[in-house]
Amino acid sequence: MLITRKAEFSASHICRNPRLSDAENRALFGAAANPHGHGHNYVLEVSVEGTPDPVTGMVLDLKALKETLNREVVEIYDHRFLNREVAPFDHVIPTPENIAIDIWNRLQPHLNGPCGKLHGVRIYETPDLYVDYFGDAA
């Protein structure tokens, strides 16, 4: 069974590859290459896979999952300039693809026990654009 919990954070970023020229970055990333940065209201959906406990009827304690998402992701990402304030985005381009991978890496050590395993990370950059990451094994 899959359980999905949603969280939101707002952050700014620049999509720019330092190995490319300004013109190449502009061609590749368009408005997202603006050197002053810009922001989004990101929506995160984290899915955990597990079997309901016969006594509690629950796969996991949703309150604990909420606290994990807050501690490991929202408190770190919310109202931050990702390129300047959140590792690894000092050297990794903060595209939604790379954000999904980073969030997976932050959550996976905390969601791999008997009470559910991390199944997928979905991150919406806008309501019309999202990415799904299911880990290296997928």
């Binding site: 590749l28 368009g30 595209t95 939604p96 790379n98 019309d128 999202y130 990415v131 799904d132 997928a138």
Partner: protein, 147 residues
């Protein structure tokens, strides 16, 4: 080879259609399709979600150039479908009933047909298309089930 990621982009168009199977009689069509068989047609605000799968390109940090995907969807789907009568103005629906099922397959067919002109062979692949005729239903077509 880096990990594979799915990128999904949503698009909208508004179109009219009529569900009527020519192999069936008028009474059978009314029974089968109900209000959707109204001879004058009716319309929807369609939403389609196009999912693309691939590795993250090291240069761009992205799976797919969204501007290229937007351009392909615009020329192959939005321009021919938006504010059109699907039965009358889209060739595929002269023969096939423009249900969401057939519409989803036609969108996949159109995108796959023109994919190699836009994306390289080792670039992102079309994974699936989901189409919602209204906000209360959704149809998903895997790109692998369509030639």
């Amino acid at each position: 080879m880096s990990a594979s990621i799915d990128v999904t982009r949503k698009y909208r168009f508004a179109a009219s259609h009529r569900l009527h199977a020519p192999e069936l009689g008028d009474a059978e069509n009314r029974e089968l399709y109900g209000k959707c068989n109204n001879p004058y047609g009716h319309g929807h605000n369609y939403e389609i979600a196009v999912t693309v799968r691939g590795p993250v390109d090291a240069r761009s940090g992205s799976v797919v150039d969204i501007a290229l995907l937007d351009g392909l969807v615009r020329s192959e789907v939005l321009e021919p479908f938006d504010h059109r009568n699907l039965n009358e103005e889209v060739e595929a629906f002269g023969a096939a009933v423009p249900t969401s099922e057939n519409l989803g397959r036609e969108v996949v067919r159109r995108l796959k047909r023109n994919w190699p002109a836009v994306f390289s062979a080792d670039g992102p692949r079309l994974e699936r298309v989901a189409i919602a005729e209204t906000s209360r239903n959704a149809f998903e077509v895997s790109a692998h089930e369509i030639e």
